[in-house]
Symmetry: D3
Subunit: 329 residues, 6 copies
Amino acid sequence: MAKIIGSALPNIPWQNPPEQLHNPVWRYDQNPVISRHANKISNSVFNSAVVPFKGGYAGVFRCDSKAVSMDIYVGFSNNGIDFTISDTPIIFEGDPYITKREYRYDPRVCFIDDRYYITWCNGYHGPTIGIAWTKDFKAFHQMENLLLPYNRNGVLFPRKIDGKFMMLSRPSDTGHTPFGDIFISESPDLTYWGKHRFVMGAYPGDQSAWQSKKIGPGPIQIETDEGWLVIYHGVINTCNGFVYSMGVALLDLEQPWKVLARSRHYILGPETSYECMGDVPNVIFPCAALTDSETGRIAIYYGCADTVTGLAFTTVDHLLNYMKEYPLV
Amino acid sequence: MAKIIGSALPNIPWQNPPEQLHNPVWRYDQNPVISRHANKISNSVFNSAVVPFKGGYAGVFRCDSKAVSMDIYVGFSNNGIDFTISDTPIIFEGDPYITKREYRYDPRVCFIDDRYYITWCNGYHGPTIGIAWTKDFKAFHQMENLLLPYNRNGVLFPRKIDGKFMMLSRPSDTGHTPFGDIFISESPDLTYWGKHRFVMGAYPGDQSAWQSKKIGPGPIQIETDEGWLVIYHGVINTCNGFVYSMGVALLDLEQPWKVLARSRHYILGPETSYECMGDVPNVIFPCAALTDSETGRIAIYYGCADTVTGLAFTTVDHLLNYMKEYPLV
Amino acid sequence: MAKIIGSALPNIPWQNPPEQLHNPVWRYDQNPVISRHANKISNSVFNSAVVPFKGGYAGVFRCDSKAVSMDIYVGFSNNGIDFTISDTPIIFEGDPYITKREYRYDPRVCFIDDRYYITWCNGYHGPTIGIAWTKDFKAFHQMENLLLPYNRNGVLFPRKIDGKFMMLSRPSDTGHTPFGDIFISESPDLTYWGKHRFVMGAYPGDQSAWQSKKIGPGPIQIETDEGWLVIYHGVINTCNGFVYSMGVALLDLEQPWKVLARSRHYILGPETSYECMGDVPNVIFPCAALTDSETGRIAIYYGCADTVTGLAFTTVDHLLNYMKEYPLV
Amino acid sequence: MAKIIGSALPNIPWQNPPEQLHNPVWRYDQNPVISRHANKISNSVFNSAVVPFKGGYAGVFRCDSKAVSMDIYVGFSNNGIDFTISDTPIIFEGDPYITKREYRYDPRVCFIDDRYYITWCNGYHGPTIGIAWTKDFKAFHQMENLLLPYNRNGVLFPRKIDGKFMMLSRPSDTGHTPFGDIFISESPDLTYWGKHRFVMGAYPGDQSAWQSKKIGPGPIQIETDEGWLVIYHGVINTCNGFVYSMGVALLDLEQPWKVLARSRHYILGPETSYECMGDVPNVIFPCAALTDSETGRIAIYYGCADTVTGLAFTTVDHLLNYMKEYPLV
Amino acid sequence: MAKIIGSALPNIPWQNPPEQLHNPVWRYDQNPVISRHANKISNSVFNSAVVPFKGGYAGVFRCDSKAVSMDIYVGFSNNGIDFTISDTPIIFEGDPYITKREYRYDPRVCFIDDRYYITWCNGYHGPTIGIAWTKDFKAFHQMENLLLPYNRNGVLFPRKIDGKFMMLSRPSDTGHTPFGDIFISESPDLTYWGKHRFVMGAYPGDQSAWQSKKIGPGPIQIETDEGWLVIYHGVINTCNGFVYSMGVALLDLEQPWKVLARSRHYILGPETSYECMGDVPNVIFPCAALTDSETGRIAIYYGCADTVTGLAFTTVDHLLNYMKEYPLV
Amino acid sequence: MAKIIGSALPNIPWQNPPEQLHNPVWRYDQNPVISRHANKISNSVFNSAVVPFKGGYAGVFRCDSKAVSMDIYVGFSNNGIDFTISDTPIIFEGDPYITKREYRYDPRVCFIDDRYYITWCNGYHGPTIGIAWTKDFKAFHQMENLLLPYNRNGVLFPRKIDGKFMMLSRPSDTGHTPFGDIFISESPDLTYWGKHRFVMGAYPGDQSAWQSKKIGPGPIQIETDEGWLVIYHGVINTCNGFVYSMGVALLDLEQPWKVLARSRHYILGPETSYECMGDVPNVIFPCAALTDSETGRIAIYYGCADTVTGLAFTTVDHLLNYMKEYPLV
């Protein structure tokens, strides 16, 4: 059995797999866990991040208001399933030139050393990667944007590698980007970034068509004894629009731009009515994962149809075996 | 309390708001009120107009046939909820050059002085605004098209202002128009139109993104003591298509090109399966409203997913307060 | 009563029409008959072909794997409703240059003389028409591709006409083709094809808008004493994507490029949740029909939302009458 | 010989046709008559209008500045060939709400009764038709915009017809419009416009492909005893962009929405280096014509490659005969 | 020295290469040889075919009329440089269903056995390959269209191979096709075609970017002792449109779907003003070649900017050596 | 008089302005200085960089080969006008993972401290900014790519500011980018970059439309006592493609993300045949400038129509005055 490197999380949300299992990831049977009306002004609550916090859970949530204005909000939960989400967006401290808001969406939360780093897609003359840190989910300190526009989905690694901070991201453009590959960048200090490496890209053609148009990183990478587990989204372009599914890959622990394995099959695709119907139909977009090193359990939070938030379960072994069973050459 | 200027309508269709109210407009709980198979040949019955008539209700309905040929049909109802719709389209009297049909859709009905004027999107070398009048919903007299192509959504005011007929409209193009602003025009005689003024436009950016791509007028403007209430549709362009929602604004009573207030939030967005699923998913398109001046009640008929017709309720105070609570600067 | 020229099929799947019949074709009330998880690796099972075989039924099924790789699979059924589908794609025998797989989809099966011919959309530097034959649904012998790229939907006639094999097809392009007309071609030997004739095309404008963007042939043409019955798909382009519906036409028996009748109305359009929701919403795509010459019954297999397979029923008289009731001039 | 209804203009610019005449219109051999650097700040001087004025000529010129800001300027000439153009744009008097400039381009000048009316494409929440009048080409009085957006090329008739002002125009959209037909509108007072009629449209297909994409009116219509002579532009869409050529049609004198004749061939197409090379290659765009009723001579000013202004010559008989020789059925 | 298999042509048009030779093909220094006004109604004369005929030359010429209607015309020349072109298009004899003209363009002429076959892009519900034969360039007998739409550039081989007629073609679509590869087809009788093989395609990427968007065959393939010499066009898509250049490849004599060599460099690209300026700037489009087996000389006729016809020279050795010097792996 | 901070360059190429000066920049009267056939395999030589070197000049030149493969080549000149350019591209030393070539274009050369840094658009899973250094223009040492894809036009500042290297760049996408703004980034070591700031963007609307679509930095920024002089390109999107012109701005010396001045007018636009005709018509693209601090003279090298290289002259005072005369508010 493979091992997750990390803390035990005995109260991780969990359900055993159903009898008939079509994918290595299975849905929480009370999905969606967060409805579109989760706070007073929300039109939708979806691509969002949850982390263990003080025995329970804290999170940073993408809520689009009823003006369809995109911002990120704090929320808390005792059990990782029932959440209370603030009615007002996070206020960031810092240089006013930096904290000036254009729009904010698709947050990730990564604990490194002694604090939680939030990264998100930040509007600054186009989408780029914003970052802030908090220790208490009350005060948030915004830092310089990490990258030049245009970029989405900046996902930090949960520890330094060879003395450097590392991050996956997906370079993008100004609109509904028709391309997207995953790159890695490194930094001595979280301010200056360089040594950008290609990690993996969309896979044109028929062999793995669910990820033929674009891909992008999802939850914080999960450290295992076999490599970094990357849960990501992939997109196919049908004649009636994009379909977003969830996939998995494994990166080398010390040279994480090297792909050790990647699943030819998606691990979860839009199928239920809450995934296929909503503001943007046919979207599964994972943004966070909880892990329990004792059991290898993984609980994934994912946006559904850009409208609500779903929860799904798997284990490190389910994912590793699936990549072996359906390898992408 | 604000006052609607107009007649009492004691038998207006009505339901009180549900306990948990997410928007200032709430749905009839037996929606849709008109199914896609409402007459013998209909594929869908949606963007349509209802008015009080002889103690009950009459209406002009957009029915797309099973050939998906777009035309407008007469229908009647005792209670504003159960409708009988003709199996054959309206036949118009008038100059054959004018009454020659290319296609007709999205009717509005406006009572001025002594008769009902029907305006609609009329095919004449492209979409423009057709007009006809009736006194009995049996004989319909078609007049000259009101505007040059390309225009959709010509919505008359229910009385002359400063001696002139007034109309809102949305200039358009020949296809699935990717832009759209609301203008006002005036006329001494309903034939010649001029003094075109910009009223309000799509709102690019994040602040009110549900209406960032295009907007267009909906039901006949409702006169209140605070101004003309305009219920309109707004559109956002997602990566998987347009989403149409319903909004509200308030125009100056005597200078109706002046916008006194406008809601930053939509007042109803696609959420139910009959709004999110159908020939054109994610469409809410209001075309008519009944009002009761005694109670301030408003009943709105709106097209759902370009397939069926829904009914929703609000009051003049709900709308006015909502614009104050969520103003669009 | 019109007569189907062909065999009796007493055990044809069948349900009588419902009381309220909106179209000349009605759905099986336990639809979909084949779910998206019909075999071990399938993401979806849809545009597929079924034929009578040894007292029961055999079929060739389009299964997209969970990699969304498109291939065709064999399956069998006793009753035409419950199918067992292979977990692995068909292996073709023949010249390796020809059998080399790029992708395969949308099969049709046509019995001529003594064997079953399978045609499908075959990837060969773009989509073209692949062909193979089998006698037992175990060994499949692939022949030369029938046409130059780019073509989809090659549908053979079930007998030679005037000594020649005949085929309908839809010339296409390399992507999500925005046009599509039906042509006929003839061949002395199934290898060399010529004398290409236009049969019928998309019908621009409002008169029959459901087929205004493109059309393409569906099941094997059905011989009747009045002509060849062609059940086909037609497409309209809405602002939120393509909608695929089912239509019917009648071709001359001996000069099948001559259209004797064509329905202005579609005969079945997307309406149910399994047709409106799925990987490609709003798709009805017929690929096969069973017929019983004794009763005139027809059972149609059609892809639903590019995700599952539906079954629908009609009779030769329902179809012929409907073309008379709603003729397309 | 056909007769131009109008004044004699003995000093009309003129050259006899060259020996080998490929078109019924021939170029001035010293073209371009106005260079791109005609005033101090001009990047280009092209689609512009010239009229007889006080024994010489006055004109309103489209000059794009070196900022490529589009405005209209006054200019004068003794001979219709050498022009002095103001270094500053026209300042309009009138209601500041109306005179507020967004952009202005493609002017026409039409003398009716006792004054010169200038119409142009006026930026007002999109392109529409602006209008002003002058008696002396010093003071310009701007009136209400004539039409709703989106419209370009509003060209007045030089006299009232049946007591009404008449105008041709080309409804348009917000960008590089891919369609365009000519309509006529009438007005009792130049403020209110109605009774919009289709006149003629782009001609799809091969028969007259130079005008298959869009057409629009050019100089002020020329009254002849056989009808109104309309010199207009037509556009074909090649794989490397639009090509604009010049055509001619004849409208009924009293019912000018009736097309009596139209040339299948263009009458002048881009051929010289100053027409094929410049800011927008391959553009011939006529905006004004001088006529001499004594001789039937016509001198046409036309924009060349959106960069400079050319002059070309013809006679009323050349044009009328050409329409007879190459009629567009 | 390589040998051309074919007749001697002592009076082939010829000029020796200039001192400084940038490409293996050099232009005639009096280009263009045919002007846009070559016949009475021509707007342009370009993609055209010339063959030796009765001691001089005959040709079939694409003339776009001043209506920009595309048709093909006969012409003759004594020296291959000065041509007389008919003022009226070719009239074809044959089945009126077949000879009905939509449009015709880009002819090739191929002598096989005892007659000249003309193939061209023929409008029949879209572009396909038309064919006719003549023995005297007076009477032309049209046969069935060779292929289903959509196809352009059908170029026959000048002799049967292994008892079959052979043809290169470029499958296409209905508009300004953004893709294009060369395929080969064979036929026992010029009516039925099959055994379609991919020959070579556009070459995406940087290595040979001049042919990265599409390619298509040009003159009749030239038989040499080393293989079939194919002179073809290739297209790159710049930010300001397509650029068409001329390339060369070598096919196996008996298995002509096998590419023996192909030049990485173009052999002639648009450079002169008559190639860079015209109705479609930056187009070099070869359609015919004369060869002299005695000297190895080749004279190529090519369309220039879709406006005029140019002539260029090379030898079989220049071409073969160039492919060796700049091979495309 | 403003002062250039830098070295004297007495032998700077130079011509005095012509009598009639339409722009503050004037062309060398023997343009183009580098022809498309400047080396053995070149199709075109354009966006290129020249610097003073050992009493003469060295340069790095973009040559597209006759395969239209894009690479950069070394060249030398005694006078800055007559250049000898290598027939083979630069070979870079360094980590093979980094030096692996996809494509290279649009070089800039910047001398900092003791060496010349070359930056260029480097193909690495999309366009990004490559960098290398040389001391002798013989050995070139390639370093890590400076930024994530997708980026073009990385232009270093010629000295550190506040201890940091600084660079302007234009984030981009994977194709013919329809947007483009200039950002600044800083780095302690040329490897890690951060603190990205917006500098200035395209200017939508009519006020300065020549730069309404996109802009990007050009030559190395020129230090003056009034600020950093930025010569850049701006693009307008006409109906027939992009037009690239040259503009100028002034940045704050110590806080170079602050724009002190910017010219509303372009300073040079495509006008001559070598700028308007070529592989990409209507392109002026500056990549390098020589300066003489003694006289304030500036000589600009710019690509013409993506085909040849032009030379133009100005002085620091011409540019500063022009920004004052035509300021962009």
